[in-house]
Symmetry: C2
Subunit: 257 residues, 2 copies
């Protein structure tokens, strides 16, 4: 019996028409059969949001033995859930999300729909990777990403990932990439987050904006350091968010009642 | 100079009219000044989603020196960001989120708007707690929760939490609570997630549903075990999602290029 090619489930948060997801598809289409289940429009900043109060719809736009493309009305996580539970003919061997137009390094991993989808793959115990390019523009140049995407996708297909773990891969802008750094999530937060403005009826509105304030700009083990020095950052991300050390410190709170 | 009372920022994901948030306010109003910034309607399952493509609006509905209530058009995380950055007159001493109508134990922490808001407090280095009751009903009975909410809020106000850490507190339904268990996030996933149905035009739709399949039902250190045995579960949650152990295992991937 012929061995089946790997099934690669692909999604993103910028929608199926984005340049990034089409670049991702081009980079990995020779590595396996492709099932795309992607939002029908932009879903940036959706984190791991799920849709429960509205129904979901999926539309099959392309259908060949090696390549299927569904659009979905839901969030990136909805796309992964619908893809694995309902649309895939067999369990995917890997979930790839992106390529996001813009960074998902540091604390952006919390807000990112791209990474929400990758984490959802990890919840299903499917090895998963989220890819992002540090360029927000619609016409971002993804040409330098393909080499790293192929390499990391092959590594994960061959070696797997621990259960409940996915990779957050960010790629610097431009063609002068120094290599890969395996690193940790940078500590920091966004500051100056709102621009105040008025709507058409002269009422107060707030637009989310801001910039990242890095708590540890000189730490070579962080993803922000790697990216600032033109390395591809590879952070291993767990869906188990337990702070085990702190649990020990507060164990005696059980005796308060 | 008289010492100011603690400022308690309160939000939720069920909206400002929900019974749960009003029960939370009642439980802690004697512990400090209250600033509520809550969604103007239901935002369940919003995770750490943020609103960047639409403007945010806030409406001041109640305004006394000890108690202010704003509704917000955004997500739970938007409420925390807007509250801390724009609406609070000083930095909050604690962020409380909930009481959610329904469990946020185990992997639900990833999808929960209640916990998204608590994690956002942790990003701002403000000690934060998300509270949930294991009862989805609109008219859930919150009477047994007050004792535990007061106790844990006082503990955190007095002792703080490590930076980037918040608590995920789930409370069993009913009045026979055995006590508190400090425990870790249970491993598992949701299964049987979709009900297929037809819309008014006879087109295929999918409704998200399903039930939690516990990977470790007999492990006494997990939050699902605590709740199944009628304990309040207290899980310490980190916004740094790095899998440090796995980083070491893949460090040599740096040499692939």
């Amino acid at each position: 019996m012929e061995k089946k090619r790997p099934l690669i489930l692909i999604t993103n948060d910028d929608g199926y028409l984005a340049k990034g997801i089409n670049s991702l598809i081009d980079s990995v289409k020779d590595l396996g059969d492709i099932l795309v289940v992607a939002p029908d429009g932009p879903r940036s900043g959706m984190s791991s949001a799920i849709t429960s109060l509205q129904p979901l719809r999926a539309h099959l736009l392309k259908d060949t033995p090696e390549f299927k493309l569904y659009t979905c009305t839901g969030t990136p996580v909805d796309c992964v859930k619908l893809g694995i539970n309902e649309l895939a003919e067999r369990k995917p061997d890997i979930v790839l999300s992106g390529i996001n137009h813009g960074s998902n390094a540091a604390v952006a991993v919390l807000y990112s729909g791209t990474m929400g989808a990758a984490m959802e793959g990890a919840v299903f115990k499917v090895p998963s990777i989220g890819f992002s390019l540090l360029d927000h523009s619609v016409n971002a140049d993804f040409s330098a990403t393909s080499k790293y995407i192929k390499l990391l996708t092959k590594q994960v297909l061959n070696n797997g990932l621990p259960n409940g773990t996915c990779l957050n891969v960010n790629i610097p802008k431009g063609n002068n990439i120094e290599g890969i750094k395996v690193c940790r999530q940078t500590s920091g937060q966004w500051v100056g987050e709102f621009i105040k403005s008025k709507d058409g009826a002269n009422k107060q509105i707030y637009w989310l904006t801001g910039e990242f304030a890095n708590d540890e700009p000189h730490d070579e083990n962080t993803d922000e350091w790697a990216l600032a020095h033109n390395y591809v950052s590879v952070v291993s991300i767990k869906v188990d968010m337990t702070n085990h050390k702190h649990l020990e410190e507060i164990k005696d709170w059980e005796k308060l009642v």
